[in-house]
Symmetry: C2
């Protein structure tokens, strides 16, 4: 990819990380392998408490950006908000670290929260059975994923200025359309980054049918369930798979691509959506520029 082309892709994000926001990371002092004093950046976390109307739902550890999107996305992915729910307001109290999502419909999740069972991703409030039921009726749309798009996307995402590149120890999720990355969210927990994108899509009434979802995290059952719940037909990761993630993707017809680095990737479900239009001779191996500052290889 040409430099100008890359700059253009990076400039065209609707939402992207703000790696210099002083609320999201801070400088700390330490020593390196030679014993020399150094300063480095580390991401910060804070506790954000979410209310749905008058009901306290959960306290989440988050880097703290986009609290409204995070709260809305969390409620959607936990099936406490319905896709047709009307929001009458979202209040964020920065001092108390509280976000309150208010709906027109009256909600009451007290009973539901009593019998909470943890999934592997700790989606408390929702049983695994509930989530499975919710995605059983989903029919993911026909769509295509051209390999030329995939390589442009991963290259641009890896080189987008981010907290990951500045401080590491963070996950990123990116909503894409064809070869353009649109919305790039980061958080200490992968589930928060996904939820922020779900919230953004809900508020902006975004059609999921032609979208591609990219994550730095592993392709677990939780990640597959959330992507299917959002109605997005293609999920791509630079990380690997778990068996239950693969099983669920096959059951729901999700295109599941993992270990996407440089030239390489592996598809373990929904391969029929992939169009092999890229000449691999013109794809570079992963650039060192996409590695965290000071890291020999990425984390």
């Amino acid at each position: 990819m040409e430099e100008a082309d890359l700059a253009d892709l990076i400039a065209s994000y609707i939402v992207r990380p703000d790696p210099v926001d002083p609320h999201l990371s801070r400088e700390v002092e330490g020593i390196d392998q030679t014993g020399a004093r150094i300063t480095t950046r580390v991401v910060t976390e804070k506790a954000l408490t979410l209310y749905l109307n008058a009901q306290e739902i959960v306290t989440m550890m988050t880097i703290g950006d986009h609290p409204a999107y995070l709260g809305i996305g969390y409620l959607l992915n936990q099936m406490m908000l319905r896709p047709d729910d009307e929001l009458i307001g979202v209040d964020f109290d920065e001092e108390l670290d509280v976000v309150i999502v208010r709906t027109k419909r009256r909600t009451d999740y007290e009973d539901k929260l009593k019998k909470r069972t943890l999934t592997s991703g700790c989606a408390q409030g929702t049983t695994f059975g509930d989530l499975m039921e919710a995605i059983e009726d989903v029919a993911l749309p026909k769509a295509e994923l051209r390999t030329s798009w995939l390589y442009r996307l991963t290259h641009a995402i890896n080189l987008t200025p981010s907290l990951y590149l500045e401080a590491g120890a963070i996950h990123g999720c990116v909503l894409c359309a064809a070869d353009r990355p649109l919305v790039y969210m980061e958080d200490v927990g992968r589930h928060n980054a996904v939820d922020k994108i779900a919230g953004w899509m809900f508020v902006n009434k975004v059609d999921p049918a032609d979208k591609i979802f990219y994550t730095t995290g592993r392709l677990t059952s939780e990640m597959v369930i959330k992507t299917v719940r959002m109605g997005i037909p293609v999920l791509v990761s630079r990380s690997g798979f778990t068996a239950s993630g693969v099983d669920l993707a096959r059951k729901t017809g999700l295109t599941l691509i993992g270990r996407a680095r440089g030239k390489r990737f592996v598809a373990l479900s929904g391969e029929d959506r992939i169009v092999f239009d890229q000449d691999l001779a013109y794809v570079a191996e992963e650039s060192k520029r996409g590695h965290r500052k000071g890291a020999t290889i990425d984390e």
Copy 2:
């Protein structure tokens, strides 16, 4: 490090991964970036339900090895088992995927479980405040970490046959003494891998004072709390830091080393335990052999 030396270190583990155990991963078919059919391995997960005496505590997603150590370690790290508790039995029902830890002391955590608050690592049953209080009185022992040990350990761990190298998408934790890795546990969740080591240490009455704890995962507050709870004075990771992990490590005097890859590392707490006895000219950059099969760089 000489090959014979490396083989000796790998042979001397007390517990190490069994990457060919068919219960822990399985082969799946898919396609690669050229469209060619391939088979690859992915890790499996199952739901394991833990009881403490007659009380159901939690259902965990795990790869399923070492259920007794996982159960015991979980209860210890949640402060539901006390260090001086006497176990009268641990039953594992493979068909029901249930593990029951039985203690001489009568326990009752029903009240406690009602007011559970989630930490970022979802340590349900224990509030963050409880955990903080529990580590406030801990005085970590004097100890040393020689950089020559650190490089031998990370080199040996990276090249130890593991599910990580076979299938990826998994975390590993290793209990070490001086330059020897002793117990290497893996799981889909980093917290499970730690808990298995805590359980193994409890059952085998292992002194933590001269140990070093290595993890592939990020250095979060949860990971710091667990290491301090175990009484181990040094925590090392190939991944990065969160600010709250650094703060807690400094408060408790834990030696915290991150981004340990090849020659490089960064220490952000407890630097006084580090003895710089290694000539860096003789340390290699990280070997490609330590990368997952088929990956260009590790995940």
